[in-house]
Symmetry: D2
Subunit: 293 residues, 4 copies
Amino acid sequence: MANSRFEYVKLFEQPDVLLPNTWIVVRIDGRGFHKLSDRYAFAKPNDRRALDLMNAAAVEVMKELPDLCIAYGVSDEYSFVFHPSCQLFERRDAKLVTTIVSTFTAHYIHQWGTYFPDTPLQPPYLPSFDGRAVIYPTTRNLRDYMSWRQVDCHINNLYNTTFWTMVLQGGMSNTDAEQELKGTISSVKNEILFKRFGINYNNELDIYKKGSVLYRQYQLEEVKPKQSSTDPYAEEEAAPGQETTSRSQQDKIRKLRRKAQVVVDHIDIIKDEFWERRPWILSNKPGKLPAEA
Amino acid sequence: MANSRFEYVKLFEQPDVLLPNTWIVVRIDGRGFHKLSDRYAFAKPNDRRALDLMNAAAVEVMKELPDLCIAYGVSDEYSFVFHPSCQLFERRDAKLVTTIVSTFTAHYIHQWGTYFPDTPLQPPYLPSFDGRAVIYPTTRNLRDYMSWRQVDCHINNLYNTTFWTMVLQGGMSNTDAEQELKGTISSVKNEILFKRFGINYNNELDIYKKGSVLYRQYQLEEVKPKQSSTDPYAEEEAAPGQETTSRSQQDKIRKLRRKAQVVVDHIDIIKDEFWERRPWILSNKPGKLPAEA
Amino acid sequence: MANSRFEYVKLFEQPDVLLPNTWIVVRIDGRGFHKLSDRYAFAKPNDRRALDLMNAAAVEVMKELPDLCIAYGVSDEYSFVFHPSCQLFERRDAKLVTTIVSTFTAHYIHQWGTYFPDTPLQPPYLPSFDGRAVIYPTTRNLRDYMSWRQVDCHINNLYNTTFWTMVLQGGMSNTDAEQELKGTISSVKNEILFKRFGINYNNELDIYKKGSVLYRQYQLEEVKPKQSSTDPYAEEEAAPGQETTSRSQQDKIRKLRRKAQVVVDHIDIIKDEFWERRPWILSNKPGKLPAEA
Amino acid sequence: MANSRFEYVKLFEQPDVLLPNTWIVVRIDGRGFHKLSDRYAFAKPNDRRALDLMNAAAVEVMKELPDLCIAYGVSDEYSFVFHPSCQLFERRDAKLVTTIVSTFTAHYIHQWGTYFPDTPLQPPYLPSFDGRAVIYPTTRNLRDYMSWRQVDCHINNLYNTTFWTMVLQGGMSNTDAEQELKGTISSVKNEILFKRFGINYNNELDIYKKGSVLYRQYQLEEVKPKQSSTDPYAEEEAAPGQETTSRSQQDKIRKLRRKAQVVVDHIDIIKDEFWERRPWILSNKPGKLPAEA
């Protein structure tokens, strides 16, 4: 049956296809997690259960969307990265972002009880997330984005670790601790931790200091000593923005990617080494599965 | 502490503020619900539990976001409507859409067990939703959008009711039923239902025939007999797109809206009557709370 | 012959269709006209030849694009308005804006000699214009836009008239005149003009005080004394955003519009009267041609 | 003086900043030049005067906007290219496009008489141009865009040369010539030209076969024999999207660029050689001025 009299309203839908041949980063953030962490009594400065739950939900997103190359999480935020050659949902912005936000939320809510067995959710105060997509033209830009998040993780964690140690172990008021830390550089915070509390910040857990990196695991490559600095861009030659691989090839690649295990790592992603040993992340070409996988 | 070397990547974030003084419709859709309804054995043609769960999640979204005027749900989709004067999240597209998608998903997952007590969720096959925003310049366009969805509900439900009756009660194969219904007009389907199965389509439940309309409940207004046809546009004079109400006034209105009950109705929204008796929906001015609410 | 290896680059072109059922305003501005007006010795505060040249070029744009409803010019800027029902160039933003900018520029350059017979153009210092489109959802917004430009015209012209009279007739330095006028309200400027120089600002030419309004001339309508305030929106009922008129009807309307004379008026467009007597501007329906046209 | 009551309309202007660190191509096209070329009796298949006028106008655009790296023209179209590091007009789309369209139009109209001394413009039938911007993330994409246009030039020119020779020298009707050429490959057209008319297509003028390339002239570089294929991307390391050069440095570079002569070349831009010998085009770093410039 026709629905023609009203159907013209579809004309108001505007296209939102993201520019081809660019990296797509979808970053999601917990909505009102400051308040929420109080309500559910998250430990300070880091709640291991909450981080593990974030990572568990993110692993499910990575599994559901084999097009994702890598993800990086810190605190209540997570960044998911699609390769420039990605054609998922024809690269429609809203579709990509809402699929990730909704899938993440579904698993976060569903697994809450596993990670917080003694703290049931109190409706209507449920955790939720907002998100957005940003595109980056070059691999350098993408890597700088990832570095930006990891530097932020470091800055915030050093601050929070020092602040909460001063408050919880040092008995200071929030205001006094805040006042003393205002404008201080890293070395000052390290010193406060070490001199007053005997804490060596370097011994803190990597999950707190470096955040969580998710990617598919293949056999690591040896780093060639004379790796040229322009190598990271080599893949741009091969995939200049058009769909060069046939649909059946793409499906095959997707299957291969599904077979690889998604691992959760806490490791430096600013230096070259991480990327050079895992070339499949930037090249988007599946590596060799580990022999004993 | 500075994070300056990498912070330039923020410059790649592009603004996505929706045009002022337009209606914002956020429509969300179940992802892969055809497959999902098989996995969780939804009843055909309509599963009352699934619809009630959709409505329960939508009610929570309406409560959480008092800026929403009205919502309309059918099958696995829901449309949420913000008034042209809405300033929530500075009208940022991604923020509005992802907040609704995530809040909806969270409540849908969390209340699943209430509506499907005997059918636990089977991870990783969790329900999820995608969504997008569309803007409409005039009240006529918005009402035509709502009519479009309700006509669609009617068309699909009549088809599905006939099809599944032919299959489940008539013992036809899916293919045969599909073949017979292909291209038929409404009256033919009504006749099949009535003559072959003694079913009067008019007696089907309104929730199936008309979908679900959610709004805040105030005292209904008498419809004036000589209502001018241009009245619906009157509010556009009053709110030409700028923020005319102060922030404290807005907070007050938001509080008033929170007090009103969100009701779930199954009613015609194509004709004028629905809108004329509930002028607060299009005017965005809270009505009088029902005396005995 | 195929051009397939490189043709993928077309995929990077992103759609720029303007939201349906909205007013489209294309405003163009002279580039660097402050410097240019010195180079070609424009009279201060207003150069009648320069304004007449602007108007002549704008008339040609109106003639070339019968879809245009109205235009308003002041100083070195011009605003051209398309009706919400306009489908020209499928409402593509760049196409609409560049067509207007280029057509305007072409006529401005070509007619320069007519208006500045003694001041030939000195390449490479040629006049040029930039432009952009803005869309407005309601007639109220469009009229407020037009009012905004005319109020701006008044504010600037009163200032400039006073300033240049103080400098040119009063012998003050630019700095002193600027200093004295800083922060003054209208009445002060009126008084300076009248008391010091015997100039009654009201007697200044309307082209300077009110700018220039271009529209197609039909028989003016009597203003009905009890015109309802919502009438301006009546046309929105009739044309809710879809193409309701057939292509042949549209061509016919276009022909009718070409027959109407484009007039240059200097008149108040802030009050209702202008619009009520010329209902064809907002309704987009051609009126009756004047009997003695 | 305040203009506050109407000023809210400025809020409807939506930002249009182009993604940082991408190549910006502004392509302009003659509006209705098929008809126009009849009106002004352009020679077929190519009118040298018309092409020279296009090139003259494009040279003026290059001179006026030193941020432009290169331009390529064929028939009644011209593509102007800004470097990924370009910050002109804060990379606002409409501003960049309209400035180029208007400047080009101004010079085209103004120099018309120089190139068509015997064919004065006939208002209102003035030449005009529309235009749009497209962004490209990588140097490979940009070069493929340029190649696309030059291949198009070749395809069209071979067709037009053959078609018009068949018509003008061979006395065929337009329809017959069109019919015979339909679907033919290059070699067939070459053969028609050679066997029937004794024309060797290779001897046609390069301006017709290759179009026109505009760039600033510095000392050509020797092509190093073992040039790595990834070198073109080296500049992306240096300018990853942020403004790394100070404003004063930028002004200095702009001055240097103004000093360089803009040349009009008719040369292959598909192969690497053109780009390797003129590295300043892709690197955006001014080269050495020719000794005898």
